[in-house]
């Protein structure tokens, strides 16, 4: 590791990009982008979805080749041919979309990214050691497919930290961590920075960037629109640089609640997966005209709760899930949708949308009840018109209703899916991770749409791992921990600290839940 401290301009930059341009068939991802980062610098790369941040990082990591421009590594021109070459140079990357093999264990996945043939037992011990040191608990022997999104991200981070990188690229690393774990990660990153490691940090969480980074490059539409020192800026001023205008803040009036629309009456569910979470005696009521948020670290039963509510995996009894007055526990998703339930799942590609189908076909996927099927035949022009108005109303950037779902960026696809569900005029809307990996502009837009829907009298349940988001949209808040659900609390009567404590399973009348405290919380 370099011993030179990040001094003034006399220091050779760790990495320098000059005039990088990358053109894709449909879009200019990067246009004449330049960026310089010194050893030990924590450099933020800011921009909306589709601004070209991820492409730029992939160029540095050797995944994508630029059409023009050059990369200088420690003062020398290099052509990074592939990720293995990048790792040889000392570049590590944590991807926004995970690059893990589902059928392999954590330690096997890590071994694949390391040179040579590491001994797995020894490697497992090193993983445990690194994960404890950086507050990222994960069992090296577990299979990746049984891990939650948050746990998978921990594996990605650990995998990079194992090789002591000189440059660490982090693409939205904190989106699924608890506040305590984020603080712990920041300590780690600052420590790495003090040791001389340069960090390129992509995030849409402007307050995090302000707290952590000492330099920032702002991208908009693939071009650099400005540089700043985040410590001298406010989140508001940075958002303005990023989206070119002031950030709309969601409007949130007092709730006008009506009858109960979604009720969990003692929901119990044993998980068939040995690494899954059993749900224990969950009680919850969501009324018309209110938003109830559920906070919690991923892997505490969120997936199991969601499939129990959506009907993707019905439970064995009728009464524990009541949708609009009907006992729906054993109903399939189609029957529950008939009752007025709409659902936005956490995974967008492959669950919320079919990757290889057009947006029009993907609209049909759940919106077919709206009169788009007659005598068993599809009304193609009508469903295309529905998709087109969804694209327009929800500001989805895409090539049109016939574009394949997989050609959209994560944020734009999320806007489309949320739009599709909202346009079906649901009575109950369940949303998982509404703005995961979505930029601030789109996130604010999606949250506002959810709040508008609540003002129209819809009962809304939001599961999110981002506390800020839950505090922004919810009227009441509950916490899920180790398969148990806390009582709800009105948002005005609680705060981040209290919810943070509850997230470790310690809420009043939580009984023995304290014994199940996740180790993440102990780290903070």
């Amino acid at each position: 590791m370099s011993s030179q401290a990040p001094k003034a301009s006399a220091v050779t930059p760790r990495i320098e990009l000059r005039g990088i341009t990358k053109i894709y068939p449909a879009v200019v991802a990067n246009k004449d982008v330049s960026l310089t980062a010194l050893p030990g610098e924590i450099h933020a790369v800011l921009g909306e979805n589709g601004a070209g941040k991820s492409t730029l990082m992939k160029i540095i990591y050797g995944v994508v080749k630029p059409d023009a421009g050059e990369v200088l590594w420690e003062g020398k021109r290099v052509t990074v041919t592939n990720p293995a070459h990048a790792r040889d140079l000392g570049i590590g990357m944590v991807f926004q979309h995970f690059s893990l093999f589902d059928t392999l264990t954590v330690v096997e996945n890590v071994a694949l990214a390391l040179p040579g043939k590491p001994e797995l037992g020894e490697l497992g011990r090193r993983i445990t050691e690194v994960s404890e040191r950086y507050g990222l608990p994960v069992d090296p022997r577990r299979l990746v497919h049984s891990l939650s999104v948050g746990e998978r991200q921990r594996v990605e981070i650990i995998r990079c930290l194992l090789v002591n990188p000189k440059l660490l690229i982090m693409d939205e690393p904190t989106s699924v961590l608890t506040p305590q774990a984020v603080r712990k990660l920041f300590e780690t990153l600052r420590q790495l920075s003090a040791e001389g490691c340069t960090i390129l940090y992509i995030s849409h969480k402007l307050d995090e960037i302000q707290e952590l980074c000492n330099n920032a490059t702002v991208l908009r539409g693939g071009e650099v629109t400005g540089h700043c020192d985040p410590r001298q800026e406010t989140p508001k001023s940075m958002a303005r640089m990023m989206i070119g205008k002031d950030l709309p803040h969601p409007q949130h009036g007092a709730p006008k609640t009506g009858e109960p629309r979604l009720v969990l009456a003692g929901l119990n569910r044993e998980s068939p997966d040995p690494f899954g979470m059993d749900l224990k005696d969950m009680h919850l009521t969501v009324h018309s005209g209110e938003i109830v948020g559920i906070a919690g670290v991923s892997g505490n039963g969120q997936q199991e709760l969601l499939v129990s509510i959506s009907g993707e995996e019905p439970i064995s009894e009728k009464h524990p899930v009541i949708i609009c007055g009907a006992e729906a526990g054993r109903m399939n998703p189609a029957a529950r949708r008939e009752l007025g339930l709409c659902f936005v799942p956490e995974e967008r590609l492959g669950r919320g949308a079919v990757p290889r189908m057009s947006l029009s076909d993907n609209a049909l996927l759940t919106a077919h009840r709206g009169g788009f099927v007659k005598s068993g035949l599809i009304k193609f022009s009508e469903i295309a018109a529905f998709a087109t108005s969804c694209i327009k109303d929800f500001n989805v950037k895409c090539g049109g209703a016939q574009s394949e779902a997989k050609s959209l960026s994560g944020g734009n696809l999320q806007k489309f899916i949320v739009g599709r569900e909202i346009m079906q005029k649901p009575k109950v809307l369940v949303v998982a991770q509404p703005t995961w990996g979505v930029d601030v502009g789109a996130a604010a837009f999606i949250r506002q749409k959810i709040i508008d829907l609540r003002n129209e009298g819809v009962a809304i349940l939001v599961l999110s791992e981002e506390l800020d988001e839950l505090f922004e949209v919810s009227d009441r808040l509950a916490v899920i921990a180790k398969g148990r659900l806390s009582p709800t609390k009105p948002i005005k009567e609680t705060n981040v600290e209290e919810i943070g404590v509850w997230m470790s399973g310690m809420w009043p009348d939580g009984g023995d839940a304290t014994h199940f405290a996740p180790s993440t919380a102990q780290g903070g």
């Binding site: 050059e70 021109r77 993707e312 998703p333 492959g350 669950r351 949308a353 189908m357 016939q402 050609s407």
Partner: protein, 365 residues
């Protein structure tokens, strides 16, 4: 300068249509090289293989006659394949269709009722459906792999047919040959073109192709099957019934194969024999994929496959080439088609060398 494959933003429709043409041209070129290497006059060989079989009306009728069961079965199979339901046992379902239809023909032997033929079509479909229902039941109940079950049932079906024509249904006046009585006229498809073997069964196949198009590309049920095939988590999320997709996928294939089996015994064969199909049930799997699981593509692919069968026979007789020639051409066609299909989702891009490559190389070194 070098060439590079670059993924398209959207699949190219134009290439979807051009790709089979590319494949045909490439197959012809490769065939030229192959014939020359075998010491045959390539032009003459080509004439024998591709023109001679369809040189007159009779040849053309034979082409359509052989294409008829291929397209019929392939459309049925495509319904299942789109939903990732892999029915490999159409040959067995075809045999059961022939048995059921043949049973009707023999039961009403001598009757001249015009209802016999429609009854045979229905019976053939039921036979195929019942045989396909076995893998469907085992798959949905016990999660037994439908590929293995449907394939193994082909052999059971063949033994069943063999027993029937050796024992209970053997023609008493047939000199002890294992065959049933010849069907009477009322149990045979009327000819479509006088003087040829082409019969109205071809019209039924065409109608099924049309119905298959509507079902697969226009109906909501067909859409659900495509979703189930492309992303099962999305199908579950949307609430599509996975078991219904499996049943439908297998039974549609079984019905089509059963009708095709009926068409063989009520058409060119005219009775039950120990073998009623030269492997149409298996060849239709290739036809389905060459036609890209699209009914119109399947229509064209079945004609091509039928021509390869006829050409192979002609090449054996006219050129003294081995019968493996047919399989070779089928293989080449599939190979070039799959290769050309790459350009539906990708396009070739010319990459110019980056500026000052020498300097870059030095710096990298």
């Amino acid at each position: 300068m070098r060439l590079k494959l670059e993924s398209r933003a959207e699949p190219s429709r134009l290439m979807g249509y051009l790709s089979p043409l590319f494949a045909a041209v490439l197959t012809v070129i490769a065939g030229f090289i192959l014939f020359s290497a075998l010491g045959k006059n390539p032009l003459q060989a080509f004439y024998t293989f591709f023109i001679y079989p369809v040189r007159d009306l009779n040849g053309f009728a034979e082409l359509l006659l052989k294409a008829s069961p291929l397209m019929l079965i392939a459309v049925g199979l495509a319904c299942g394949y789109r939903a990732n339901v892999w029915n490999i046992g159409a040959e067995g379902q075809l045999v059961l269709g022939a048995i059921f239809a043949g049973g009707v023909a023999l039961y009403f032997h001598g009757s001249e009722s015009s209802l016999i033929l429609p009854l045979m079509v229905v019976a053939g479909a039921i036979g195929g459906i019942l045989w396909a229902a076995i893998p469907a039941l085992l798959r949905t109940r016990f999660n037994a792999n439908e590929i293995l079950v449907s394939l193994m049932l082909v052999y059971v079906a063949n033994f069943l047919l063999s027993w029937l024509v050796h024992e209970p249904w053997r023609d008493p006046e047939g000199f002890n040959f294992p065959q049933s009585k010849q069907f009477t006229e009322a149990a045979l498809y009327p000819p479509l073109i006088p003087g040829t073997r082409l019969n109205v069964g071809f019209l039924i196949s065409l109608a099924v192709v049309g119905a298959g198009y509507v079902f697969l590309n226009r109906s909501f049920l067909g859409f659900q099957m495509r979703v189930a095939g492309l992303a099962d988590a999305a199908a579950r999320y949307a609430g599509f019934n996975a078991n219904r997709m499996i049943w439908l996928g297998l039974l549609l294939g079984g019905a089509a194969a059963g009708i095709a089996g009926m068409g063989e015994v009520a058409g060119p064969i005219g009775q039950l024999l120990p073998s009623v199909s030269p492997g149409y049930g298996f060849a239709a799997i290739i036809v389905a994929f060459v036609g890209r699981l699209h009914p119109f593509g399947i229509l064209l692919a079945s004609l091509l496959m039928s021509l390869l069968y006829l050409g192979g026979e002609a090449a054996q007789m006219g050129l003294q080439l081995p019968s493996a020639m047919t399989g070779l051409f089928q293989g080449m066609l599939l190979f070039f088609l799959l290769g050309s299909d790459v350009f539906i989702n990708y396009r070739v891009k010319v990459v110019h060398p980056p500026k000052a490559p020498a300097q870059l190389a030095e710096a990298a070194a």
